[in-house]
Amino acid sequence: MKKIMTGNEAFAYGAYLAGVKIGAGYPGTPSSEILYNFARYPGVYAEWSVNEKVALDVCVGAAYAGRRAVMTTKQVGLNVAADSLFYVAYTGLKAGLVIINVDDPEMHSSQNEQDNRHYARFAKVPMVEPADSEEAKSFVKHAVEISEAFDTPVIIRSTTRLSHSRTVVNLEEEPVQETNPEPLTYERNPVKYVMLPANARKRHPVVEERLKKLAEFAEDTPLNHIEVGDDILGIITSGVVYQYAKEIFPTATFLKLGMVYPLPVKLIRELAERVKQVVVVEELDPFIEEHVRLLGIPVKGKDVFPLIGELSTGRVRKYAQEAGLIPKGELKKVVSVPSLPGRPPMLCPGCGHRGIFYALQRLRTVTFGDIGCYTLGSAPPLNALHTCGCMGSGLGVIHGVDKVGVKDRTVAVIGDSTFFHSGVAPLINILYNKGVSTVIVLDNRVTAMTGHQPHPGSGKTLMGEDAPLIKAEEVARGIGFKKVDVVNPYDFRNVVETIKEHLKCGEPSMIVARHPCVLYTRERHTPYAVNIDLCNECGNCLRIGCVPISKVEGGVTIDEELCAGCGFCATICNTKAIYQLNGNKE
């Protein structure tokens, strides 16, 4: 039986087939679907942890206790979890521990383009890299086996293109579920698991010895293999880039690497002996190329292919032609990319964030932002966000701005899921260090941007069970914040007054703007329309950046099919030209 699966679906399927029992992660495009799909298999437990570090620690605990575990993350999430990666690299584990990490070349949905292959070398742990969904499935099993054989966490590296492409997967016999699994007892071994300096000093040589053994393993594992072709070009490549290279160099000899760290030195030398020119085709950094160079083998790599951005068949062809690696071929008719109006993503019609950003725009605040749907508040015409670095950064940044003496209309905005992810610690920091910043939590009850995953403020778990609903305002009050208000973001006048009051209050404060994500709840009301005779063309409703509203001769119009009926435009219309239609369009 064959099935078309995305890379992420195949990772989940592979984890299930490999007997992984525990999955934990934090949503992040392009990795989110792995855990979501894994959670649906029988006999497994999966959770959205509050952040990637907690997720990795949860998986470490499971693996220490003797159950196979998989942690999922996008590339920047591994930064958050890095502290835990480095200790577990030393301790090792009892059952298999696999981290599925998805890089995002081209930054389709990320703030930077880091190449996480460096983490393998940095933390001295093995890394495997599949090239299609079939391999995504089978490499999880390989990774679990390597993890247990070598007593090490293993990182699987994917990229956006692999995780979000659908390719054919062979279905396999499903594992038999143990009906009465024996209860686990925790095996105490403090010398291995307590990373005091004295113990850690004993573990470091173990790690170095392990790497040597893994390097030997890399020579013989079927994960790495030579595909014999002509004796002119020898291509070393891995991951989805292998697919592009196969199209461009159909007759070359290939060293296809399924294991990208540690690298198989003998295989690389064998390839070099077979061919006149070795070429490394890899996305982002010259990770493989530098290793080949250290072996003293002349190699072409980043002198041919770019360091920046995603590769594709077309890009590999272009650079290979320019470098003379393949013949120029017949010149294709060049069709220029037309210059057409763009279509950037916008806050949805009916989105509660709009009310806050419009108020902040009118109050001319300096707004320290964060990562989520609400980052779209930076887009024109709202233009209401002035910094955005990484998850949780805005609350620390605003405090620094405060401490250098800037007190003029500064606010930090953070989403609800982001608040639980990494906003609580800097919130405590503001209070403890006597800051006076105002924090606005944009609470839509769900992790919206990545596809509506539940979080501690949603009242549900990934497994679909009811859970305690944790509220940001109660966290703030519990910490000791005195000035805390909850507002409905559509209640524009109240929102403006509340923000003004908080800006003046001279103490640290929090506003929770609560409205469930309309894309998630599918909430729709009777749409609005415009009485063009009353419109004085002030342009207010065009400044809220709501797609259904457009400029026409003598006023504006609202697209009935797109309007969610939230009525925010009517609230801010000075001449009452916008009204709700009668009828029952639900």
Binding site: K2, I4, T29, P30, H108, S109, D132, R161, H164, S165, R166, T167, V168, V240, Q243, Y244, K246, E247, S312, T313, G314, R317, K332, K333, V335, S336, V337, P338, L340, P341, G342, R343, P344, P345, M346, L347, C348, C373, L376, P381, M449, T450, L519, L542, G545, V547, I549, S550, K551, E561
Partner: protein, 194 residues
């Protein structure tokens, strides 16, 4: 069986581009092809641009279509169809839904939505044949604007040799059960259009 057929699908988030490309992939698999599909989504639901590549072949390596190699373009929206001429091969067929969704810059009066004739020129300069499909009109007739993608699939099926029952079976399998009948109707509305 052809050596390879590449389909490029372009639309706006929320138009059903992704489901349509999933159906198209499944049809290829059912007809014995190796199939790969790539798409850019993530922020797609927020009204952004969606592009999807579907590749059928004896053996497909890259999930992405190379520029200048697409055999078919399925344009869910006129402006979006016009955005990708550089992917089209000479002699390819561009099936374009005659439907406009104004982007925000046009709504704000800062840019102009291109005329139908401009869009036709942009696409036909590549050597592609432009076929206008009344996808939105027919989808509304069948009962729901969201069916326009399946109307486009019906129109596409006229240019392919794959048997009708494969299309129908795959559609019935992949759409939510309560919308089965509507989707099949939408497919025929596209397939029968002259």
């Amino acid at each position: 069986m052809k050596k390879k057929i590449d389909f490029f699908l372009a639309g706006v988030g929320g138009q059903g581009t992704i489901l349509t490309s999933d159906i198209l992939s499944e049809v290829g698999l059912n007809c014995g092809y190796d199939v790969k599909k790539a798409e850019v989504h993530g922020m797609a639901q927020r009204g952004g641009v969606v592009e999807s590549h579907v590749r059928w072949g004896e053996k497909v390596y890259s999930p992405l279509i190379e520029e200048g190699e697409a055999d078919f373009l399925l344009g869910f929206e006129m402006l979006e169809a016009a955005r990708w001429p550089h992917f089209l091969k000479a002699g390819s067929i561009a099936l374009v839904n005659r439907y406009r969704i104004m982007p925000p810059v046009v709504n704000l009066g800062q840019a102009k939505y291109p005329e139908e004739t401009e869009i036709e020129t942009i696409l036909s300069e590549t050597g592609a044949r432009v076929v206008w499909v009344e996808g939105a009109v027919k989808a509304r007739e069948v009962g729901n604007l969201a069916l326009a993608g399946v109307v486009l699939l019906g129109a596409l099926s006229r240019y392919l040799d794959e048997p009708e029952e494969v299309w129908i079976n795959v559609i019935e399998e992949m759409v939510p059960p309560k919308f089965k009948e509507l989707n099949v109707k939408a497919f025929f509305a596209g397939r029968k259009a002259g």
